[in-house]
């Protein structure tokens, strides 16, 4: 079984084709990167994977559940983190985690919160209002929220955006360790190419709503004859050069 199986997924808003007939799979336990410039269709694709958006055509299967017909059982087994969606700012960190623990029906919730606080170095922040945290602390709290239900599938939208290099590295190291320990499947949307190279076993390159290339970071580097993923990204985004046929 795949973590995600997407078939001929399309999303059209009036005259705009935001996602154009894409198909891909994310094997269980893998980390796949979803890359593309602004307007490439990443957010729309993630929105459809999360059930926030109804596709115009195509099917999505998440952890064996058809998202068109049974999205709630799938949502209970997955979670999501994005710097563009906040937690209530006036609630304390512990209260926020308690709210989401109830929403995800987490057993032994207080013990789970304590464990996450310890792992993500949040113990001293539990009683602080979420709105009074630094960007790095907010990212750790958002991760704690995303992991509260021990998700089998984690969707991460730019998890290290706006973080300093040290904090960003701490988050990436933590994600690597968590993935190894839990076997969690991760779909990662990011503009940070070093992050993608480090974390992802496979990459999907999106442009104008279509998947224009895919493969492991090393495959893509070889195909485009480049030294890093940033150059590959720019090649694709600017139509600078074509992949060298294998």
């Amino acid at each position: 079984m795949n973590g995600i199986r997407v078939s001929h997924l399309t999303k059209r808003y009036d005259d705009t084709l935001a996602v154009d007939d894409i198909s891909f799979t994310v094997p269980l336990g893998s980390t796949v990167g979803l890359l593309g410039g602004n307007g490439a269709g990443k957010t729309t694709t993630i929105g459809m994977l999360l059930g926030l958006l109804i596709p115009t055509a195509g099917t999505i299967e998440v952890l064996g559940h058809d998202m068109g017909r049974e999205r709630f059982p799938a949502l209970a087994r997955m979670n999501f983190s994005s710097p563009y969606v906040s937690l209530p700012q006036r609630l304390s960190v512990a209260e926020n985690l308690r709210v989401y623990g109830h929403l995800y029906d987490v057993p032994q919730l207080e013990r789970r919160i304590a464990a996450l606080a310890s792992e993500l170095e949040l113990v001293d922040l539990l009683d602080r209002p979420a709105g009074k945290l630094s960007a790095g602390q907010k990212t750790r709290v958002a991760l704690a929220k995303a992991l509260i239900n021990r998700p089998e599938l984690l969707l991460l939208d730019e998890p290290t955006a706006s973080l300093d290099p040290d904090t960003g590295d701490w988050v990436r190291t933590w994600l690597e360790r968590y993935r190894e320990e839990s076997g969690c499947t991760i779909l990662l949307a990011s503009h940070n190419m070093a992050e993608v190279e480090r974390l992802c076993s496979d990459v999907l390159m999106l442009k104008r709503g279509r998947i224009v290339d895919r493969g492991s970071p090393q495959d893509l580097l070889d195909r485009y004859g480049r030294d890093d993923m940033e150059e590959v990204f720019l090649d694709i985004a600017r139509d600078r050069r074509q992949a060298i046929p294998a």
């Binding site: 929105g47 979670n79 999501f80 906040s86 209530p88 304390s92 929220k145």
Partner: protein, 271 residues
């Protein structure tokens, strides 16, 4: 629904309710705001009624009783409506809706939680006003009898139906529609016959009043105050109309929620 899924649903509803209770626990200005307007209304109209009663005698005292009853009961509808709409907007303002809608929370669970929050908010506003009425003017709304509970129920249901309509408009039009949360029910006050009988309205406006559950509640209240009799016909009409209003509002909410998922509005609502 199986036992475990019912328990999980109840827990999700509690989680959403807890979110709002925690917010009020942390913010005394919010608590003060709940009671401020109802108490202020009660002070203004209570002193007005007292003044008229001392100058004009018994007839004015009875008019004052209907006035105070109207003020207090209309606050039940207003606070119930605002309780739902503002609690929904709290999620929008805190940019938390995205997290809520990607959790396993069903829309009906969210709506149930909003209704429960609105009961808490309504009691937080109306109970202090009732206390003020009793302390300052020796006016006891519950002296009308147990039927007051039925008046409360009807006005809460009406407030909820209007609030679901407002939330639907926010889903459709985004933050641009949020002013309706404060204003829409005030616009229905003249037709709700809060302080005067429906018969006072011009003939062309009376069908509008008759279509509002609130107008039947206030006709019923005046029946108890002026004739000492419970107008069951008015109460039945209010409950029946509320059933229609609630069904219409739930259908509208369901349709707009689906439309929001089609248009991608859940990704950007409040921005």
């Amino acid at each position: 629904m199986s036992g475990s899924s019912s328990r999980a649903a109840a827990r999700r509803i509690w989680g959403l309710l807890y979110r709002h209770l925690a917010l009020y626990r942390r913010s005394w200005p919010r608590l003060l705001e709940l009671a401020y307007w109802p108490v202020l209304q009660m002070c203004i109209w209570g002193f007005t009624a007292s003044f008229l009663a001392t100058r004009l005698g018994n007839a004015a005292a009875i008019a004052g009783a209907t006035l105070l009853g109207g003020v207090l009961l209309w606050e039940v509808a207003l606070r119930s409506q605002m309780g739902v709409a503002i609690s929904f907007m709290e999620e929008m303002w805190s940019r938390n809706l995205g997290h809520l809608f990607v959790s396993p929370t069903r829309p009906w669970e969210l709506v149930t939680a909003l209704l429960l929050v609105s009961i808490v908010r309504m009691l937080g506003g109306v109970l202090p006003a009732l206390l003020v009425a009793w302390l300052l003017y020796a006016y006891n709304l519950f002296a009308l009898g147990p039927v007051v509970v039925l008046f409360f129920m009807n006005l809460m249901m009406f407030g909820w139906a209007v609030a679901l309509g407002v939330v639907s408009l926010i889903l459709r039009h985004g933050a641009g529609a949020e002013a309706l949360a404060w204003s829409v029910l005030f616009g229905l006050t003249p037709f709700s016959a809060v302080f005067y009988p429906i018969a006072v309205l011009p003939h062309v406006l009376q069908p509008i009043a008759l279509a509002l559950p609130s107008a039947h509640v206030f006709e019923g209240m005046r029946g108890v105050v002026l004739q000492g009799a419970v107008r069951w016909d008015q109460l039945i009409a209010a409950f029946a109309l509320n059933a229609v209003w609630m069904a219409g509002a739930a259908t509208l909410f369901g349709r707009q929620f689906r439309q929001a998922r089609l248009r991608g509005a859940l990704l950007s609502i409040g921005e």
